[in-house]
Symmetry: C2
Subunit: 199 residues, 2 copies
């Protein structure tokens, strides 16, 4: 006897499968959930179920969508010639939070990673090339992460796209706003230095 | 446009209502959940829903139960005269994890807290007194938390139960196993000192 009934033990087991949720946190969350009114618990369960059930991928940009093509790909006002290439859907959400970009997106669903055996065929590169051939794109903004794999993917894509006569840009690397020079690593600082602009 | 479709936004909103889950964590969890296979997402949703749906309270001990009375209250082998009084159901789970107690439980569902306007009537004290009058209890173990309210509740219950001729004990306070004397607060250390036993 564990002093814990089966539905609670099951819930703790399920919650502890989530990333960053250990058994103690899972236990705390489980007892919290049980202490909530039934309709609120139902709402949470339904939100989880629906999030998966109602989410598909947009066949054009590859972002999560409720319809195919997604709202952003159908939005004529976003067809301004700019195409932002990101690693995954959460990067689209991050870019949109900044409220300064109004073009279209292309989600790669991964980056080139020889260590994990992921080559250009393992991510949505061919779909990107097809779009560039058929759509009216004047600038491709490479917004993959500034890590080894993100950089390699950006370099690979730039080499592929530039010969098509399309402008290719990369998001700037530098000191994050609010950070301290003293605690900034040398690579970032050197990027910030070489990427300096006149004011 | 937030760059996030409604089912995902709803899920993030629901997850961020959980204790200790901020908006960033909720977002990370939501994208993780969506990336899982549908049957695993369903399992999580069902576990959440069932945990509430299938959980009632045992009318005797007050613990979470699937049946009333609960397995522990029906278990004749646990009727050994010992009754452990705890604040809430998760304390029963904690006591059971230690695997050394084999008696019965009584869950108060709170502690006396004048600051929050909770008196003896606000917790399951009268149910406890009824049990003591009808059941064959030889020892009441007060296992409320060693904080101000837990101590006050234990003192109150001890004053109430002792005149009935029932042995009343309190769990020991002292230095936690693995802790360092140097970093132990004075109150804990003084409790550990006064509670010393011969070896």
């Amino acid at each position: 006897m564990s002093g814990m009934i089966e539905p609670i033990a099951k819930l703790i087991n399920q919650l502890s499968k989530l990333p960053g949720i250990g058994s103690k946190t899972a236990q705390r969350l489980a007892y919290y959930i049980i202490s909530q009114p039934e309709d609120q618990v139902r709402e949470l369960a339904v939100a989880i179920f629906n999030s998966k059930k109602q989410t598909k991928f947009c066949s054009i940009c590859g972002n999560y969508a409720t319809d195919d093509p997604c709202d952003m790909c159908r939005d004529e006002s976003r067809k301004n010639g700019q195409l932002c290439v990101v690693k995954d859907p959460r990067d689209v959400a991050a870019m949109e939070r900044m409220r300064e970009y109004s073009g279209q997106y292309h989600v790669l669903h991964g980056v080139i990673s020889p260590m994990q055996g992921i080559g250009p065929d393992g991510i949505r590169v061919s779909e990107l090339m097809k779009r560039l051939a058929s759509e009216d794109v004047s600038e491709v903004i490479l917004a993959t992460n500034p890590d080894v794999e993100g950089e390699a993917t950006a370099a690979y894509l730039a080499r592929l796209i530039k010969p098509m006569g399309i402008k290719v840009t990369r998001i700037a690397h530098g000191v994050p706003v609010g950070a301290d020079l003293e605690y900034t690593d040398e690579v970032t600082l050197s990027r910030a230095f070489s990427g300096r602009s006149e004011i």
